[in-house]
């Protein structure tokens, strides 16, 4: 990995000497930071970089050619980013998909399908947590267009149970972090990380958010930076969707399919071909679409079927990806 003299200066001042981001930014903008390093300083930077290189980690600085343009316009952009994986993704258009850790099963499935579609046009930016983040990762990982931004160093993992998932993302996509190697996640690091999520992306989709969810911070930052905010609508009274509904009320785009997002960015989509259904399956699907989340017994009663016939039809729909189990023997259409 080759670094220009300017990049090396930034790396020396921030990563090696530990200059604060704000002071560094002022120095860069004022032009005073661009000075040539002494031989001794240059040596220490080279040593620092080769150590990172051995661990498969690269650095992107504010002055790098591929430093994401959009992030520069964030209020408080990180001067250097530690990266692991496919650096090319930084050049792609980026879109952020987030959700709280407790996301209803249907929203996870829907989010996964939606992200899959988005990933053919954008690199999907998200975190690494359970729930919404995991749904986004599951959707984007097969295409490899996935950037996970961590609230800890790239060699750490939070939550620890997702270490295997992190490895997969590093192999197929990209892991980013602003923290030096070995830094563990702290409470405030999540807020700081959220500004990078919002700053990287052209827009943010919120899959689920409670009243005080951290995903709302990401959405708020996105608004500050002038990015679009999208949200999934929820039934009234569902705690995990209160934040989403509040965003929509405040003017966020309401999303029920990928086209809702793609059309905002002028991307045309082909009409989706739906899996074929027949007989009982079609009747059940139609009923589900009319009534929303429904209990198996209610469906069976309304359509004059035996309970187990309705259950069989619902399984068929689930296998075809047209319906999903939402808990307590209830189903909803996708």
């Amino acid at each position: 990995m080759m670094y220009t003299p300017e990049e090396k200066t930034v790396i020396y001042e921030t990563a090696v000497k530990g200059m604060s981001g704000r002071a560094g930014l002022a120095a860069i903008r004022g032009g005073s930071a661009v000075r040539s390093l002494s031989e001794e300083e240059d040596g220490s930077v080279t040593q620092f970089l080769s150590a990172l290189d051995k661990r498969g980690v690269f650095l992107v600085t504010f002055l790098s050619e591929d430093y994401p343009e959009l992030l520069k316009f964030a209020a408080d952009p990180p001067l250097i980013l530690y990266g692991m994986g496919n650096r090319e993704l930084l050049k792609m258009r980026k879109f952020c998909v987030v959700g709280s850790r407790i996301t209803p099963p249907w929203a996870e499935k829907f989010g996964k399908a939606l992200t899959e579609e988005l990933a053919s046009h954008f690199a999907i930016v998200t975190g690494l947590a359970e729930g919404g983040d995991s749904a986004a990762i599951a959707g984007a990982l097969p295409s490899g267009n996935l950037i996970s931004v961590l609230p800890c160093a790239v060699d750490m993992c939070y939550p620890a149970s997702h270490a295997a998932l992190k490895e997969k993302v590093a192999q197929r996509g990209l892991i980013l972090s602003e923290y030096p190697m070995g830094t563990a996640a702290t409470k405030w690091a999540f807020h700081a990380r959220n500004r990078i999520l919002a700053g990287l992306a052209e827009g943010v989709l919120v899959l689920s958010a409670g009243q005080k969810s951290g995903t709302l911070i990401t959405a708020g930052r996105a608004l500050d930076y002038g990015r679009e905010v999208f949200a999934l609508p929820y039934n009234v009274g569902i705690a995990q969707g209160e934040g989403c509904n509040a965003l929509i009320k405040a003017g966020a785009y309401l999303v029920t399919e990928a086209a809702d997002i793609l059309s905002v960015y002028g991307i045309e989509t082909e009409a989706k071909k739906e899996a074929e259904t027949e007989g009982d399956e079609s009747r059940v699907l139609q009923y589900l679409r009319e009534r929303g989340e429904t209990h198996v017994a209610t469906i069976a009663g309304a359509l004059g079927m035996q309970i187990f016939e309705a259950a069989a039809a619902l399984s068929a729909l689930e296998i075809k990806g047209l319906a999903t189990k939402t808990g307590g023997n209830k189903y909803s259409a996708l």
Binding site: E293, A297, G301, G328
Partner: protein, 506 residues
């Protein structure tokens, strides 16, 4: 003079004949026991001495030797009291003219000379009968237990004096009348499916589970009727046959949990608490090995409420008996095998707080808490639970109101029919139900149509099912087809079977 009396000792569920020999000689009065008696047997000296005296008989003031044969078997418990007393009487010539040959004497003595009941009478009687003994004198309080065993002369005696009068012929005891076994004649449980409100899915799963002998897991928030549903399981299972009833009664008799009615006439329903130890579950003890909960549930249902709360090691210990239908426990006193063919029914909350997946209440658990909670149940154990079903968390009014609550008897009819089909299918093999099928039987009896195979393939891809889920789904589909009286497994059966899975994706 020497007297020989036959008695029986218990080893596991088997009775072992023990010959009690008494020798009464002239000499300095003494009383010795040989032939590996344990403390309880040695203490019988005092019980026998008092019982003889208080029954108006003489305790011989001579040199007495009692021998137990075979000498290498450890003799335990108070079951030999009566035999020792009778052998002493015979040897001291107080039973002149009485024929004690080929009579088996069983019973513990009280100081007053009354006979006390013993544990494990039924297994002893059954073993002794098979050894060719046909006459028994037993404690009167054990009479009910012995009443169902035909083909033997059984004389229930209330006291030692009664026994003596019977033997010398002054007042013979009338032999016990054999009673016909009627399944369900002593019903203890009042559970019935008609009292279960709503829960159509769980009801259906319960029917399938019983029909195919599958184990089942119910997941649902607290207080939604999981336990009540489970209690209905024995009521829809096929009625006990006499042979099954005898086998269950044998186990319950050995474990001292047999009720006054003397025979188990309905399928057992055991609910060990989640603090149960592995030993209490599987059986154990330091000398005599007692049957554990899984053996007491033999022929019936073992219900484990709040499955993740049980100790992991205890749950893992269930795996082998679930497979083999019996448990072998080895202790210093010997190795014992108890039958343990039971249906496992377990219940659990979806998460530690119980509200995961509920629409009206918020779950306060973090995802990692939920994962930890569910991970307490190991994959191999889940492997053996074919049906996993969610229990509804909604009030009855929310469901369609024209729903009829079927009673257990009508469900049992369908179950019997499905079992009949299975008996015909597995005739000549040691398999009884669909759940016991192995890979070979699955290939032989569960041919899927091309369409059915495609469905499974699609299901695996879209639902990310684990490989072990395949056999499980096919077996359940086979049972559903049997309930439907369909020779082939049709697509609808496969679809329904797929809907009874919860944890394949974890």
């Amino acid at each position: 003079m020497i007297a020989k009396i036959i008695c029986y000792a218990l080893s596991g569920l088997e009775g072992i004949p023990v010959e009690v020999e008494a020798d009464v000689n002239k000499g300095v009065p003494s009383y010795d026991m040989v032939g590996l008696p344990d403390a309880a047997v040695k203490e019988s000296k005092e019980r026998v001495r008092s019982a003889l005296k208080n029954s108006g008989l003489l305790f011989p003031m001579n040199r007495i030797t009692i021998n137990f044969a075979p000498a290498d078997l450890k003799k335990e418990g108070a079951v030999f009291d009566l035999a020792i007393a009778v052998s002493l009487l015979k040897a001291s010539e107080q039973l002149l003219g009485a024929d004690v040959k080929d009579i088996v004497f069983l019973g513990e003595l009280a100081l007053t000379g009354d006979l006390r009941p013993i544990n494990g009478l039924l297994p002893i009687l059954i073993s002794a009968k098979s050894h060719g003994y046909a006459k028994f004198i037993i404690p009167a309080e054990n009479a009910e237990e012995a009443r169902y065993l035909g083909g033997a002369e059984i004389y229930p005696a209330a006291s030692l004096a009664d026994v003596v009068r019977h033997l010398v012929g002054t007042q013979p005891i009338p032999p016990l009348e054999t009673r016909e076994f009627v399944p369900g004649q002593h019903k203890r449980s009042s559970a019935d499916l008609k009292y279960v409100k709503g829960q159509p899915i769980a009801r259906r799963a319960l029917e399938i589970a019983v029909a195919g002998g599958h184990n089942m897991l119910m997941s649902g928030p607290p207080g939604t009727g999981k336990t009540m549903l489970a209690r209905c399981l024995p009521t829809v299972m096929p009625d006990l046959t006499f042979e099954e009833a005898l086998e269950i009664t044998k186990i319950h008799s050995v474990a001292c949990v047999l009720g006054e009615e003397g025979i188990v006439s309905e399928r057992p329903f055991r609910t060990p608490h989640h603090t149960a130890t592995t030993v209490s579950m599987c059986g154990g003890g330091n000398k005599i090995v007692h049957p554990g909960e899984i053996s007491l549930a033999h022929g019936g249902v073992l219900f484990l409420d709040e499955l993740p709360e049980y100790k992991r090691s205890t749950l893992e210990a269930l795996r082998q008996p679930l497979e083999d239908g019996c448990i072998t426990v080895s202790r210093a006193g010997g190795t014992f095998t108890y039958p343990a063919r039971f249906m496992l029914c377990a219940s659990m909350n979806p998460c530690p707080c119980g509200n995961y997946g509920s629409t009206d209440r918020t779950c306060t658990c973090t995802p990692s808490e939920i994962r930890r909670y569910r991970r307490k149940i190991s994959g191999p154990l889940l492997d053996r639970i074919d049906l996993q079903v969610e229990v509804d968390n909604i009030t009855y009014d929310e469901l369609t109101s024209d729903e009829v609550n079927e009673d257990s008897a009508s469900v049992q009819k369908r179950v019997n029919e499905a079992r009949r089909i299975q008996r015909a299918r597995f005739e000549g093999s040691d398999i009884h139900t669909n759940a016991e099928m192995g890979e070979k039987e699955i290939q032989e009896f569960c041919g899927l149509t091309r369409e059915g195979d495609k469905i499974l393939r699609d299901a695996f891809e879209s639902m990310k099912l684990s490989a072990r889920a395949r056999a499980r789904i096919i077996k359940v589909a086979r049972t559903i087809a049997d309930l439907d009286r369909s020779e082939n497994i049709l697509p609808k059966h496969v679809f329904e079977a797929v809907s009874y899975r919860l944890f394949d994706k974890l």
